[in-house]
């Protein structure tokens, strides 16, 4: 925690970043030279041909990812650029979605054409965002965060309990049942009534928003936002209109979220209170921060990672490959020297057979159970102990021990680490084959959580974020 020399380190940080030492250096220098317009175009083309190769469910997951990407870009304006922690963001998404659903379904018998409803909704969301920014004149930091969180909670309570409010006779929000039968967008007689059409609609909107926001980012306003983020007081002294800028950031973010909301209803054929739970807000934040706060390509990438990772993990086979490949990759990265890798591999195989024969000698064949039939599992089932009757209990203890072992490996060094490594790896595989592979849904959540922790530890600035240097 020593901070001696920190000032010169800060002063040189820009140059250090541009040096790009390390294996990715030349590639990144090349990438930097491509104009951002071309990069955007390349991204749109690559994503644009995705539906031709993907299955319908792949397109659907793509739509989820694009929705998340739009939301992440909007959130990035408030959090990444203007530096305000806005936890009420999800309410604007919900507001847009519900507004569109109510005026585009049979809920109250109103049917607005898309060219009317969408601009009205975007404007109304932005206005609501501007309103929510008012407390930010007085509240800063985490107090602003919690205040916006209250707003999101109030929104959720309102849509669930709307028809119970005193004096309300019309069932606007459908309560816990939500609003169903939401019509798709229809422009110039063209109805966006398939997944593919909605996918391209989202892609085009994403492109337009990215171009617009890039322009704002490069303008006076964008620079002023950054000034606000780095030091509000200094910015105010430079006669930056702090409050107006905060309001603008909230309004822009809310507008994007409202617009995104109008597409949720059609692709889901309904909107439900369940769509706007806090967990989804967390997902959005994960996308923004994982991708790299402040960077548009970063947050888009983050959204894609956050949307696709859990879906890939859903397939037990894919999760199995991820587990075993991850294990091998980690071992190689950790040991580096071929001799050590070989030693661990041999030790591991020997250890496994030893445990197997010892256990069988003591308890007999009765303890064995049915091995899993995934390809990778069949490779290890003669070596690994796949338990039968005592499977649940044994694997619970093994699970706790394996976690302790992994943590132990992280903190130890040298021979201790090598010695600890073999039983830990063995236990991990034991737990995988005896427990995790059998419970894919829970394992998926477990891995997703673990991936988040590891990713942040490896790249705290996010995938494409720039390291921000703060002087405290």
């Amino acid at each position: 925690m020593s901070n001696i020399g920190v000032d010169s380190w800060v002063a040189e940080s820009g140059e250090r970043d541009r040096r790009y030492t390390g294996w990715g250096g030349p590639a990144r220098r090349l990438l930097d030279r491509i104009p951002s317009g071309w990069k955007l175009l390349a991204f749109l083309v690559v994503v644009g041909i995705y539906p031709f190769f993907a299955s319908p469910s792949g397109v659907r997951i793509g739509i989820t990812a694009l929705l998340l990407a739009m939301l992440a870009i909007g959130l990035n304006v408030v959090v990444g650029w203007a530096g305000m922690l806005d936890l009420g963001y999800i309410a604007f998404y919900g507001f847009g979605a519900y507004f569109y659903a109510v005026v585009s379904s049979d809920q109250i018998g109103v049917m607005w054409p898309t060219w009317v409803s969408v601009p009205v909704i975007v404007a109304a969301s932005a206005l609501l965002g501007a309103l929510l920014s008012l407390p930010s004149r007085r509240l800063v930091g985490d107090y602003l965060a919690i205040m916006t969180l209250f707003f999101a909670q109030i929104f959720l309570e309102l849509i669930v309990n709307f028809q119970r409010l005193p004096g309300v006779s019309v069932d606007l929000t459908g309560g816990p049942n939500g609003v169903i039968g939401v019509r798709p967008w229809e422009l110039f007689g063209f109805s966006f009534n398939t997944f593919n059409r909605n996918f391209y609609l989202l892609l085009v909107l994403l492109g337009v928003i990215v171009v617009l926001l890039r322009n704002i980012d490069g303008s006076r306003t964008g620079r002023a936002w950054r000034a606000l983020r780095e030091d509000t007081l200094a910015a105010a002294h430079m006669t930056t209109p702090v409050n107006n800028l905060k309001m603008l950031a909230f309004a822009v973010g809310a507008g994007v979220a409202g617009l995104t909301g109008t597409i949720l209803g059609p692709v889901q054929v309904g909107v439900f209170p369940n769509n706007f739970q806090l967990l989804f807000l967390i997902t959005m934040y994960a996308a923004v921060i994982l991708g790299g706060l402040g960077s548009i390509p970063g947050v888009v990438l983050g959204a894609l990672v956050v949307a696709f990772t859990p879906e890939i993990l859903r397939n037990p086979n894919a999760a199995g490959w991820l587990f075993y490949l991850g294990l091998v990759g980690l071992l190689i990265a950790m040991l580096r020297k071929p001799a050590q890798i070989a030693a661990v591999a041999v030790g591991l195989v020997a250890f496994g057979y030893l445990v197997r024969f010892a256990s069988l000698a003591v308890w007999g064949e009765v303890i064995l159970g049915m091995p899993n039939d995934a390809f990778l599992s069949t490779l290890v089932d003669d070596w690994m102990l796949i338990l039968g009757p005592a499977r649940d209990v044994a694997s619970n203890y093994a699970f706790v021990l394996a976690i302790a072992g992994v943590l132990g490996v992280i903190v130890t060094k040298g021979w201790w680490r090598l010695a600890l490594l073999i039983p830990t790896v063995y236990l991990s595989i034991f737990v995988w084959e005896n427990k995790l592979a059998l419970k894919p849904s829970i394992t998926r959540q477990l891995l997703f959580g673990g991936v988040l922790v590891v990713m942040m530890a490896v790249r705290p600035q996010g995938l494409l974020g720039t390291r921000r240097v703060q002087i405290t």
Binding site: P56, N161, F272, R314
Partner: protein, 395 residues
């Protein structure tokens, strides 16, 4: 042509459905473990050996997340149904699990991925009515022939919207009036209703409240979020003259807390729980619980199934047995398709599901569907919980 075929299928199906253990056409009986009874002689000639008759059935439910206690028990019962079926009949049916996390967006995505997987012929699930809406829209648009049998969605009218939807639980418009009638018969003057702000709960309140009010019972309503686990303040507001507290809740453990806190504050009203409260977690003596099945541990035939289940899995609750029933409906439908020599696909499996006519089921009642896909005859039973925690069924 299709109609004629399905009639033939239906005719064969009726024979086979009476006794599920005999639907073992064509299994090679080398070890003599499986018996091919005379029933099989009546099935269509040229029946395929079942080992070429392959199919995958999906399970959709909240396996993780806030109400994982529902999904986990449902998943266990599904696996139990699959294992026992495969063991009994020699089939090698496969399953895929789809974790909705009780989330509508995920339900919709999962529905699409089930449709994409050509091996999957039908699904059991999803659990809640809003998940059914989200998934149903996808199924309806993608392939209306895809069958999904919800083991726990009870909202009235939802089956009519989706061709592929069936369910193995009776709806709110059966449970609601029956509950109201019971309370009226018990001489209720004042009833305090608390819903848990879920789609399940508000649906039941909408069915119960008007009936009570029509009989001049004073009804006081309030609601509390499912996330809350302290009800002491709410319990404090129950008026002393209240006869019954009606709790249409999904989380029985919360009901138990509510009951304890009533005792603590000296409230003497009796709790009446909906079917969601029928669980080992809710054991307040003197309380009543409505449920869609008579106590299955007392039903002949079902008790063995329950014992078999408990041997493998730790816990069960009210959400489990309808999953078994739903899975069984699909398996038997696949079997009937195979009996005719056809290759099972989504359309012929759905036709067979529609033709389901089980004289008896794990739920202790016959299972057949009306044209919407609702149970043809559903009724509710009312239990009273005794001092020792056992349940006595009321006539």
């Amino acid at each position: 042509m299709l109609l004629a075929l399905s009639l033939v299928i239906a005719a064969c199906g009726d024979d086979a459905a009476d006794d599920t253990t005999t639907t073992t056409a064509g299994v090679t009986t080398t070890d003599g473990a499986t018996d091919t009874t005379e029933d099989m002689a009546t099935t269509t000639t040229g029946a395929q050996p079942v080992d070429t008759c392959e199919a995958t059935v999906a399970f959709m439910g909240p396996i993780t997340g806030e109400v994982a206690f529902i999904g986990q028990v449902q998943l266990n019962w599904f696996n139990y149904a699959l294992d026992t079926w495969n063991e009994e009949t020699g089939y090698d049916l496969q399953m895929v699990e789809a974790d909705t996390q009780f989330d509508v967006a995920q339900s919709a995505t999962l529905a699409q991925s089930l449709l994409d997987n050509a091996d999957v012929l039908a699904a059991v699930g999803p659990a809640g009515s809003d998940q059914v809406d989200a998934a149903g829209a996808v199924f309806e648009a993608g392939d209306p022939n895809f069958t999904f049998i919800s083991p726990s969605s009870t909202r009235v009218g939802i089956t009519a919207q989706y061709q592929g939807m069936f369910r193995t639980v009776p709806t709110d418009d059966i449970q609601g009036p029956q509950t109201a009638q019971f309370l009226i018969d018990q001489g209720a003057q004042t009833v305090f209703i608390v819903d848990d702000q879920s789609s399940y709960s508000t649906g039941l309140v909408d069915a119960v409240q008007p009936e009570l009010e029509a009989a001049d019972v004073e009804v006081i309503t309030d609601s509390v979020s499912q996330d809350v686990t302290d009800f002491s303040a709410l319990v404090g507001t129950i008026p002393d003259e209240t006869d019954f507290v009606y709790l249409p809740w999904q989380v029985a453990a919360n009901g138990q807390i509510f009951a304890n806190q009533m005792t603590e504050q000296g409230k003497e009203a009796v709790i009446f729980g909906s079917d969601g409260m029928d669980s080992g977690d809710f054991t307040a003596p003197g309380s009543y619980v409505a449920t869609f099945a008579p106590d299955i541990s007392a039903v002949e035939g079902s008790e063995d199934l329950l014992a078999g289940y408990l041997e493998q899995y730790e816990d069960t609750n009210t959400f489990g047995p309808p999953v078994y029933a739903a899975a069984r409906v699909i398996f038997e439908a696949i079997d009937r398709v195979c009996q005719t020599g056809a290759t099972p696909d989504r359309a012929n499996v759905q036709a067979e599901v529609q033709n389901t006519d089980q004289a008896d089921s794990i739920l202790g009642s016959p299972i057949s569907f009306n044209e919407d896909g609702d149970l043809a005859e559903g009724r509710f039973f009312i239990f009273q919980i005794q001092e020792d925690g056992s349940k006595v069924i009321l006539p």
